[in-house]
Symmetry: C2
């Protein structure tokens, strides 16, 4: 008999690789990027797990906070034996980064129990045509099997907890002392014994998935919140006077009462004077023109300063504090660009690209020219100092209490820079939120989300028809994209007044508000939306006439007939209904009219459901049947139930999948229904009216 | 001005990561396993490639044989600008392993050319509603731009080849000496200049995909061949006499003439005597019973020996040589299991698992028992010596000229063992082919293919209806599975006589033969199929009556009325038509009758096309319309063409997509059409007959 050969390292590794753990989801680019969750969410991990032969496997999801050393685990269950597919779910209860993996091992005692039960005739396997015909009815001799079981139990005892040992010892005794083989087998195959031994298993052949996977856990506002955007300089109650940060404080009670969670301010820094843009983007500014807040920097400072006309850092701190008292978070704009008067231009001339004639290259996207803005040159030899400076700028505002940054045009700066900057900031401040304002091709938008942006502007403003909305929302909520790309559905922005709003009248604003607020957990409006402002600078343009980007604007906040009541109602509903607070759980339901869009949102456990029907045509009434996907709503076929419209207050008795709907935009553009069961007392008081 | 900060390693890495190369296909489990190709094939690599901003990118596929040090490259082209999707194709001309990757870089000169052309008004971009209204019609001053272009050309000169330098120098001179700015711009934007500068580009910011990817390039037989399986001991021309390897040599001319490429022999090793199985798998053998060839090993030796009744190594070498002369490759069975009489049982007792009573554990899958077979214990402490021994066994047969192994039940041995064994063998002998005989759940079958098996048995025998075949073939040919899982469609095996064959009469055999031979580039039959052998051991069993696994069998090779003519024709067609030689290029076409299956195969360039219509019901005639996917066949709408049935010789004039077909199994179960255009001279001679 030859001595054991010395195996190579490869052999040793492959000899250990007996259990295959493959096709693990969620997993982005082979673990290159983390998936994302909001604090309090769960992560369901699925994998294909198998080994040779027929032995029984066990698997768990292992997870821990990145900074912890010890692992937690939750059991996985086999959800599809034919495809060896397993699933397990773990909770993420803290903001920060979690690491997760899978451990699988062979449960030899359970395998032995099963095989013993089969041999003893206690489990009947389907007749196998390949098997030789049964030759004897004599009970099999299971002496060897029972001895092997006792030996395995004895081995397991070493690893068992003190509380488990008596059960195992009792089973060994029982098997050895049983009066008959049959009695010994009964002791051996007991389910409770199996559970105790499985728990004590030292998992000698345990295998892990080959790559550690990560999940970034963000504060809820990273994925769920109602945003309001305003220009502080337009907030003066006095027409013509430059508004201040103190004026913004005055606005907070109303915004809080309307249910907004985030107040986003365009840049509040000093504004450049060279090539300052005039009203309506005129190439030359008049003496009183205030310029674009995105042309950052003048003699008063740059990204680390506040425009003196708006106030001081002390005013800013007061704003942050007041907002916090109203339950509102302040989001600042972070735009990496400089006016020609920005201090960096003198202090760091190498951060800008020089032309052949020695001038600095202004921003352009031929044939467009932005003479009031210098882009930063990320190919500067001094790039590292520049990167560090941007971190310093963010840290400064974070020190003043800012936790949300809306990042201007991130797709025009290198992806590696963002990955570094956001990584550094979130390592120190995991509760900071970055909103990506990238309107470009899907791969770049998605990559920015993968590399660290918490949430993203979307194509929502350009998705207006039933097909467009269904297709886009399906991509955002039903594909891998949902693991990392958190949409923020702005219904308008200072740059985008869509033709639908320009031409659709007030109902168009109502439609887009309902869609934004109920299709995406994060949504926003830019001020003016609530007053139905809809004049473009010229036909065919998405720019506003007299855009606030280039001038002060005064609005009558007390005006009657605004969208405010609808905003208040929708924001209240969003706070009351968990179904509206997460991206998952969206189902589109069939309707017989292409102008009627019907969808529902529900929580993973189905306990909360909101059903929405919208007439997408702001000009005409439309009616038709909706064909509800009843299982998606947790309803049985032919169920009787009431739909309670939280916009109008109406309650309708519905039955089964097919129900009639009519929406006249002159009266009501949408139903936002909560589904109630007939036995609710509420319904006894409200006499339901049949709709058709 | 501060000194440049010292960047961290992370910063340096991320500063380099400016170009994103993502979603690279083909790629198996993040590059954990190689994809597969046959020698002479191509690999089309696709990726999403982008960077910040609007600069023009270039990309190439880099590839090399694993043992080479220098890279080859082929250009990639952007096939979907909206999704930044690129594609490039490289050839694999040698058996072995190739490594591939992607290199992408910024083409700054091309970007400069494009921007210059835009500024000069030579490229008109669609009007942008965000752009300020045009203020002047005066031609722009492009002095800076032209100077920057000259500077870039001067820089490029350093990297340009001697042949490229004059073009670049001439352009610089032309730009500097041009009489007008307009003339200088014309010189600068010349397309040929762009090509020369692109070719000379030193690719300073070149980025590679983060993982090296591999492709295993196999000999053609690994993915394409007609297999014939026979038991050598049944090949005696004399009934009752034990056949020999010399008898197999006698069979070669006919098998070659029938067009078979591979002759697969069940194990030819000495057969155990202990617990030898009798006829029809009887638990006890009679004195003359020959036993199962899979119960390997007796006093004459084990896996490295030849059953004396079959002959000697000298006979075996003669068989290999004779087969080679007939263009036939011999495939041996590789079954890792031992009879109780195998030499290993004495020499390596620790390779087998002992029971509590000291006996060796025989093979069982409760309640099934295989007392004539001992499995090897892969958990033996002496596992490494056992692994090495199996390599020695394979090397022995390889030294005798064997290049194909059909591996018995690989799914009951550890996956890591196979990855090591096949890896070792293929490193030394990249032309060796392994066929996996795993009938188990898809994840294990697919994993065996990924880890190294060249081709695989499939569920084909159990896929008989139109839906079953369409769904299964779609999975095999249209999904990622096609990158690594090469099916071998055996129409029958010694273990599998499907009910369809038992009950369908001769037409059933014809149907399954046509399907196997035209749906998969590799297919096979086990002898007896051509004689329509269809008696099961008992009703409901897939086992043959008087199975050759347990006894000698004598067949009258000269019998009339066999499948041989059809086999000959199909194998000829398979050799003539490249479309039948690769897995890709399968299209299913709609038919109006659920019994009629219609599909075509075509080469990637569309130059070769075979169209098949099969009546899957062996009992009744069926007719209906086929609705051809004309683009998949390279035919225009309303094209007139002839379909030439290579089984019957008939030619039919067809037009457009919709054509009538009738197949009566009593006469013909299938059409195997070649599509011919009306202007072929051939057709002038053969008067076409309308079918309906």
């Amino acid at each position: 008999m030859p001595a054991a050969a010395e195996p190579s390292k490869l052999m040793v590794r492959l000899n250990r690789d007996r259990i295959v753990i493959a096709d693990v989801v969620p997993q982005l680019d082979a673990g290159r990027y983390p998936i994302k969750r909001l604090v309090g969410d769960t992560v369901t991990v699925q994998a294909t797990i198998f080994r040779e032969g027929t032995a029984i496997l066990r698997a768990v999801v292992k997870y821990r906070r990145e900074e912890d050393t010890s692992w937690c685990e939750v059991p996985m269950t086999c959800i599809n034996p034919g495809l060896s597919r397993w699933s397990g779910t773990f909770p993420v209860e803290h903001v920060g980064v979690y690491v997760y993996n899978i451990e699988a091992w062979t449960d030899r005692f359970a395998t032995w129990q099963r095989d013993l039960a089969k041999k003893a005739g206690l489990i009947h396997t389907p007749a196998d045509p390949h098997a030789p015909a049964a030759t004897t009815a004599a009970p099999p001799d299971l002496t060897n099997e029972l001895k092997e079981g006792v030996a395995r139990l004895k081995w397991t005892l070493k690893y068992a907890s003190a509380s488990a040992q008596p059960t195992i010892q009792a089973a060994m005794d029982g098997m050895l002392q049983a009066p008959t083989q049959e009695a010994a087998v009964q002791v051996a195959v007991a389910e409770e014994l199996g559970q105790v031994v499985t728990a004590a298993d030292p998992r000698k052949d345990a295998e892990w998935f080959e790559r550690m996977l990560r999940v970034t856990v963000d504060p809820v506002l990273a994925g769920c919140g109602a945003w309001y955007e305003l220009f502080p300089r337009s907030q003066s109650p006095e027409p013509g006077r430059h508004g201040t940060l103190r004026d913004v404080i005055r606005r907070l009670p109303e915004l809080a009462e309307l249910g907004f969670d985030v107040l986003y301010l365009p840049p509040i820094h000093p504004i450049g004077r060279s090539h300052r843009k005039g009203k309506n983007n005129a190439p030359t500014a008049g003496p009183d023109d205030v310029g674009s807040p995105w042309a950052i920097g003048n003699e008063h400072g740059g990204h680390d300063a506040i425009e003196p006309a708006l106030g001081t850092f002390s005013d800013f701190d007061a704003l942050i504090a007041a907002a916090r008292e109203h339950g509102i978070a302040i989001a600042l704009d972070f735009a990496i660009q400089c006016s020609p008067d920005h201090p960096y231009v003198q202090q760091h001339p190498t951060w800008f690209r020089r032309r052949a004639d020695g001038s600095i290259q202004y921003a352009e996207n031929p044939p467009k020219k932005y003479q009031d803005i210098y882009p930063l040159d990320f190919e500067s030899a001094d790039w590292a100092a520049m990167w560090q400076e941007w971190r310093r700028v963010l840290e400064l505002w974070i020190a003043h209490g800012v936790r949300i940054f809306r990042v201007d045009n991130p797709h025009t700066k290198p992806v590696g820079f963002w990955e570094w900057l956001i990584g550094e900031i979130k390592q120190a401040h995991p509760d900071v939120v970055f909103l990506s304002e990238a309107f470009t091709a899907p791969p770049m938008m998605q990559n920015l989300a993968k590399l660290g942006f918490s949430q993203s502007y979307t194509y929502f403003t350009w998705r207006n028809t039933k097909n467009e909305l269904t297709e886009y929302l399906t991509e955002l909520t039903q594909t891998e994209v949902a693991e990392y790309f958190r949409p923020n559905f702005f219904a308008n922005t200072p740059d985008i007044l869509h033709e639908y709003l320009q031409k659709g009248g007030k109902p168009a604003f109502q439609v887009r508000l309902v869609l934004a607020a109920t299709l995406s957990p994060s949504y926003g409006i830019y001020s003016g939306f609530e007053f139905y402002e809809n004049q473009p600078v010229r036909p065919g343009s998405e720019e506003y006439l007299n855009s606030e980007k280039y001038e002060l604007k005064h609005r009558n906040e007390a005006a009657p007939d605004t969208l405010k009541p609808m905003i208040r109602t929708l924001n209240q509903l969003r706070r009351q209904h968990a179904a509206l607070q997460r991206l998952r759980g969206l189902t589109f339901h069939t309707t017989t009219n292409p102008n009627l869009l019907c969808y529902s949102r529900s929580t993973p456990d189905g306990s909360d459901r909101v059903l929405v029907v919208v007439n997408l045509d702001p000009k005409s009434p439309h009616d038709g049947m909706v064909e509800l996907d009843l299982p998606a709503l947790g309803l049985e076929p032919n169920a009787s139930y009431y739909v309670h419209d939280k916009l109008s207050g109406d309650v309708w008795p519905w039955q089964g999948a097919r129900n009639y709907v009519r929406l006249d935009p002159a009266r009501q553009v949408a139903h936002v229904f909560v589904i109630e069961r007939p036995n609710l007392n509420l319904l006894a008081e409200t006499a339901p009216t049949a709709i058709a």
